[in-house]
Symmetry: C2
Subunit: 275 residues, 2 copies
Amino acid sequence: MEKKFSQWKKQSLNKLDQSKKGSVDRDIEHVVSLLNSCEEYFTTSSCSGRTILIDGASQSSDVQKQNCVWLFVSHQKCTFDDLMSGLARSSGDAVLKFEPFVLHVQCRRLEDAQLMHSVAINSGFRNSGLTVGKTGKIITAVRSTHGLEVPLSHEGKLLVEHEYVRFLTQIANQKMEENLRRIDRFYENLQSALLTEKLQKLQIPEPPSSHELQDPPHILEGEKVLEEEEEGKEERKKSNVYKRRRKREQHQTDCCHGDGDNSMTELDDCLSLFT
Amino acid sequence: MEKKFSQWKKQSLNKLDQSKKGSVDRDIEHVVSLLNSCEEYFTTSSCSGRTILIDGASQSSDVQKQNCVWLFVSHQKCTFDDLMSGLARSSGDAVLKFEPFVLHVQCRRLEDAQLMHSVAINSGFRNSGLTVGKTGKIITAVRSTHGLEVPLSHEGKLLVEHEYVRFLTQIANQKMEENLRRIDRFYENLQSALLTEKLQKLQIPEPPSSHELQDPPHILEGEKVLEEEEEGKEERKKSNVYKRRRKREQHQTDCCHGDGDNSMTELDDCLSLFT
């Protein structure tokens, strides 16, 4: 497995970047470099976050949805004129979207993916999750909740006043700023988490958490004491997350069946307004 | 572990529903019942999808974001009057959101979570992912991409024309319809996937995939032949997903570094317009 992961990493890093741009977005170069410098990780895709204006077909069938035109894309702040000149070229249904930072990280072992997931959640990327493939590929997707999706024209006709587009420009740029703050938080949390892991490995050749992968049933069925130790560590590591989650419980149990824990991510309406 | 999962399931199903509503949303009762009738699964939270109008504070600090008011919530289609009467009560920054179906499913074993994840992706819930806890809790979150997030008022002042609100009502209702179609698709795919699993178990006491949990390194390091068999099964099971992904590649490599595989979920702008 170790060998296989290294092969995957080598292949991936040597492979031509398949994006049109062909390179990593400037604002996350340091994050991608840090991850690719770790033997436990490599990135397979990323976007630092962007404001986009798409001109879609007026109907909603899958076929037509693919016939969309990009009127405007920016990974930095945008201006009122950027959006207006894009909208001027709309002939279908134009939609303004803000898409936050997204990152896919392939991880050597499940515990590495768990660490990445914990850092992501801790940094406010609450739609993050793991994918575990049959062939052993383990990927953590670092995802935020969507930020903005505003229909602006129908069959080429602008549906709103210019002042509203000016207001949206501010909102989109506020979201871009918040997005960059979250990327910084993620980078800092990642650095400290990786350092903690390294120190633990130096002190303890086989830290308890590493058993989980070498012998999952051991941890999964493990003695209560060991589990409590694990939970204790986890609690300390994720204290910020849990604090945030407790806060959120006041807002997100509005209408949906839930145990007030796992529903946090998507049902947190108030807090997701600006994420 | 088996015993522990059963205990968790028993505790969860006996626990009082912590949502204000206190019950599962009508449109997904059959999905939740099906999952809770399986020994491998139980649901910990869910929402069938909703159109909400939230009055947030005018600034974006976390503190203020929590002081938001719910002006309108509906799990069914909404009307122009619903939204207008909600907006009439706005004193801050009102935002209209459509939030699609979300479901959290605790799974007995990793392979059960992988099956759930595969069904979710296959049904169009492309932001789905796993969470693997230190104590052995394995949860698959079934998530779609956000559907709509439209700022409508600032400091209580409506920013758009009534006609635009009428247009948004149609869009929100179209998204609700599409959401229900996806729930149906998820339910059908889930039924057939569970049936296939049951049949496999009847025919083969120890199907290859079940080794993965009893002895992960075996599959992860397993002979090429076994891996190819596994991959073959996976390919067949997920053929629709891969077809969809291939389609998407034309659209989503616009600006971001990626290997054209894992970036599918978030970078698919055209196809996500109506999801």
